[in-house]
């Protein structure tokens, strides 16, 4: 996120009064001066104010959001204030914490004897047999370095032909990522790294190393990943919505697994930021294909059943990744968050979660992109703001079908419980009679 960070002084102690509400004008504050956001505010007749003023709605940078929630700031939000991040979103958006949370979630389910955590044996190409979760195997085998170095080496030795991808935990936009296919290369890197890489030392600049998906699904011979937008308005109970419009990001160079291509980042990484500087980048389509067209293509060439299964699997993946972090998220009712989910599909049509972004780019690379992002923001606002149009942390967070717009309900544990109770109540009534 190379954006200018507007810092709020952490010494604000006053509690903003809802006096602007009496005037009937909703106020907003935004750290991001982009027309896609501002035009959506202005459409609603909201008035822009600064972060130190009385805002009802704040579209903030993650850092500023964390400051607001930090104890030192003493800032207390009132009931008519909403903000677009959860304080500890990094549980989902940092690569190492995401992996940690998912692993913990799976282990807990396993301990409970929950059938979701059922395991199965998988025979690797090397002949080795490993154990994988049958239903929750949606992240590639991943280790946090330097902490899990020894575990990584053990796993690596099971299939020494495999390729692994190293990603720095705190970076985005494809920065600092590289591939290795030899343990010696990793050792070489650690020797050359600025800070000494010591398995015992806890290194601030930690990395995750994941099994590289070397059999991605290709379309037209090109590799791609999927970007999906997921809106969460609450973690406990979990309320999540999936935006109907997403896209596939294509590599501009044809996918090639020969070793010489290992260092060619244009082939392997699909981040638009990386692709943008490749020689063949086209700004008319930006290397993006809509998810609707992708689905249409898949159905036409592979049939309906496998297509529907893939999309169901992706929804499943998203829901369980959210359930995994739900117990540790600070479930502040003033918060909502729109995540950018990056998913890779392999050639067996299995989706893999690559990462989750808490600040998905709102930059538009093409005309279609601009429209998509405008719609996205517009629908986010209509889902999170109650029907009367005034931001309110207390409302029941059950949007009408109309308010959902192009969002589809993924899961609403609140509604599910209400339906459950209703069924039980009806049964009870019948028994009483």
């Amino acid at each position: 996120m190379a954006q200018e960070i507007k810092r709020i002084s952490p010494s604000i102690h006053r509690k903003p009064s809802p006096s602007n509400m009496e005037k009937g004008k909703v106020t907003y504050c935004t750290d991001l001066e982009k027309s896609v956001i501002i035009s959506n505010f202005e459409r609603r007749g909201w008035v822009q104010v600064g972060p130190e003023d009385e805002w009802n709605f704040y579209w903030s940078f993650t850092q500023n959001c964390r400051n607001i929630f930090s104890i030192e700031s003493g800032y207390r939000m009132n009931d008519n204030q909403m903000i677009n991040h959860f304080p500890n979103h990094y549980e989902l958006s940092r690569k190492d914490l995401l992996v940690k949370n998912i692993k913990r979630y799976r282990k807990e389910l396993e301990r409970e004897g929950n059938p979701l955590a059922e395991k199965t044996d998988l025979v690797l190409p090397s002949g080795q047999v490993v154990s994988r979760y049958l239903h929750l195997d949606f992240i590639p085998v991943t280790y946090v370095l330097p902490a899990d170095y020894n575990m990584f080496v053990e796993e690596y030795r099971k299939s020494p032909q495999s390729t692994w991808i190293m990603k720095p935990c705190g970076k985005s936009q494809g920065a600092g990522i590289f591939l290795i296919n030899k343990l010696s290369k990793l050792k070489k890197w650690s020797r050359e790294a600025k800070t000494p890489f010591h398995p015992q030392l806890s290194n601030k600049e930690s990395y995750v190393i994941s099994r590289y998906i070397d059999n991605p699904l290709l379309i037209g011979g090109k590799k791609f990943d999927l970007r999906l937008y997921v809106l969460v308005t609450s973690f406990r109970p979990l309320k999540a919505y999936l935006f109907r419009h997403g896209f596939c990001r294509f590599c501009t160079v044809k996918y090639d697994t020969s070793v010489t291509e290992l260092d060619n980042m244009y082939v392997h990484l699909t981040n638009v930021s990386v692709q943008k500087h490749g020689g063949d980048y086209n700004s008319l389509h930006g290397g993006k294909m809509s998810i609707q067209n992708f689905r249409f293509y898949l159905e036409g060439t592979r049939g309906r059943a496998v297509t529907e299964k893939l999309f169901a699997d992706m929804q499943w993946l998203i829901v369980h990744s959210l359930k995994a972090v739900a117990p540790v998220m600070a479930n502040d009712r003033h918060c909502f968050e729109c995540y950018g989910y990056d998913i890779i599909i392999d050639n067996t049509l299995k989706p893999w979660l690559v990462e989750v972004n808490a600040s998905p780019s709102l930059q538009s690379t093409t005309h279609n992109d601009r429209i998509l992002k405008y719609k996205l923001i517009d629908n986010i606002f209509s889902v999170v703001v109650p029907p009367d149009g005034i931001p309110d942390a207390r409302w029941n967070k059950i949007p009408t079908t109309e308010a959902l717009g192009d969002f589809d309900l993924l899961i609403d544990e609140d509604l599910m419980e209400k339906e459950d109770m209703n069924t039980r109540f009806c049964k009870f009534q019948r028994v009483k009679q």
């Binding site: 379309i219 011979g221 294509f250 993006k288 609707q292 249409f296 036409g300």
Partner: protein, 490 residues
């Protein structure tokens, strides 16, 4: 191939000499040869009934010949300006490179800056607009550009309603509302019903039945198979061999048209967010198409008289001459778009090629050659004009008042059969109807329906630029409900 199978069958013990006819028919049915034979006859009869005679209307054939001359002249002058040859043997190193990059021709670097498309839809339209100049017009007050002056018969809306009977009688169409409740017991939605029926139709594999099925729209998951069945374009070993021969001819002889093909794919498909992913397959398909002399053979009489040129580098003999290109078809700007939608149905370039080729031979060539055929572009323009005048008179008058020829705002849609103008899912529903009713008249009908739908906005503007702006974005159009509405009685 089929006669060999037939002979084998006749010689089998299942066929008895005594009741030959009956047992042969029975044996054929059992072996599935029955359907195959019926399909073969069906496709053969189709080709026989095509108009291969010379165009009766001499004025149009004159215009057609002159246009063709212009194109050939333009090619020759481009060739001499660029100091190249129309056809020459490709040096071995180039052949090797091309063969190497065959699956990723988007990386094959060519300097195409000096090459321009031979013609574009707007050039062709200008030619069509002069056609009425070949026929004396009777009324002084009518604009010269109207197609109405041509003595061609086209249908009225009522006649079209009779043709698209299932639509005009309000039958449920897949493209209109797939989620509506099915009238057939056992199916929740229309979509489920159509999928089940479509699977049975596909299993039967009998082309006329498939064609009938396509009238009400096909689910995307069955389309690839159904279209190949209707067109008789399913591939076997023979087709793969032939396709590889075409590839070989691409590699061996360098035709100037290759540069034009590369340029067209780059300008159209590669820039389109719906199709850019498929550019590599499209290069293969379009290059091979240009070398396919079957196309010229099957379209004899309908595509004029192609150029014959000498292949530079070959010793003078009978095979040092080649038709330029062998397919007899010179591509124009946007020609690739006839093929792009098939990328949503076929991964395999060979299957894609044959289905595209069948579509071209059956339909698309009519959209860019001048003829009096009722499905030809001239008749379609006239049909559009007539439908507009008769059914949207206020719009017609508005165009008169602002001095815009109404054909100008829809011509590019007609010439490309809406490819590139509609999103793929809508486009393929439209093309289902083309196949199902075996008719291109749905194209001007859709053009009319869209204008009618947006007429309020059109009334607000008075320049061609602004009318184009009103019609630029068709991404929100639901093609089938719009068409069905136009066809059902008001």
């Amino acid at each position: 191939m089929k006669t060999i199978q037939g002979q084998k069958l006749v010689a089998s013990p299942n066929v008895k000499k005594e009741d030959f006819k009956q047992t042969l028919q029975q044996a054929m049915k059992e072996k599935g040869l029955d359907t195959k034979l019926r399909n073969t006859v069906f496709h053969w009869v189709r080709t026989q009934s095509k108009q291969n005679k010379l165009d009766p209307l001499t004025s149009l054939s004159k215009a057609s010949a002159q246009w063709e001359k212009r194109i050939h002249k333009s090619l020759n002058s481009m060739c001499s300006d660029l100091e190249t040859s129309l056809a020459k043997i490709r040096p071995q190193s180039e052949q090797d490179e091309l063969a190497d990059k065959w699956n990723e021709l988007s990386t094959y670097n060519l300097d195409l800056t000096k090459y321009r498309p031979v013609y574009a839809p707007k050039d062709f339209l200008e030619v069509l607009l002069t056609l009425s100049g070949y026929v004396p017009f009777t009324r002084e007050d009518e604009p010269k550009w109207e197609f109405a002056h041509l003595p061609l018969q086209v249908k009225t809306l009522d006649q079209i309603r009779k043709l698209y009977l299932e639509w005009s009688s309000g039958e449920p169409l897949l493209g209109a509302n797939p989620h509506m409740a099915s009238a057939v017991p056992g199916f929740v939605t229309l979509e489920a019903e159509r999928v089940s029926l479509g699977e049975r139709v596909a299993a039967l594999g009998y082309a006329p039945v498939v064609q009938e099925y396509l009238k009400k729209g096909s689910p995307q998951c069955l389309r690839a198979k159904l279209w190949a069945q209707v067109l008789g374009s399913e591939i076997k070993g023979q087709q793969i061999t032939y396709f590889n021969q075409l590839k070989k001819s691409v590699l061996e002889v360098d035709l100037m048209i290759d540069k034009l093909i590369f340029k067209d794919v780059q300008l159209t498909a590669s820039n389109d967010d719906q199709y850019f992913v498929f550019e590599d397959v499209l290069y293969q398909v379009m290059l091979c198409f240009s070398r396919d002399c079957d196309v010229m053979q099957q379209l004899k009489g309908s595509i004029g008289s192609p150029l014959t040129v000498t292949i530079k580098g070959k010793q003078t003999s009978t095979d040092s001459l080649t038709v330029f290109p062998p397919s007899g078809v010179i591509p124009f700007h946007g020609f690739t778009m006839y093929a792009t939608p098939f990328c949503y149905l076929y991964d395999d370039p060979v299957q894609l090629y044959y289905t595209f080729r069948a579509f071209y031979i059956r339909y698309w060539h009519r959209l860019h050659y001048i003829s009096t055929h009722p499905q030809g572009i001239v008749s379609l323009c006239l049909l559009y004009e007539r439908l507009l005048e008769a059914n949207e008179p206020l719009l017609w008058i508005h165009f008169r008042n602002i001095n815009i020829n109404p054909i100008r705002v829809v011509f590019k849609w007609l010439m490309r059969a809406f490819s590139g103008h509609l999103p793929p899912d809508q486009l393929l529903l439209l093309w289902d109807a083309i196949l199902g009713y075996d008719c291109l008249e749905i194209l001007p009908l859709l053009a009319l329906a869209i204008l009618s739908f947006r007429k309020e906005n059109i009334f607000q503007v008075n320049t061609l630029q602004n009318v184009d702006a009103v019609l630029a974005d068709l991404s929100t159009i639901s093609v089938i409900p719009l068409l069905q509405l136009a066809l059902m009685r008001a």
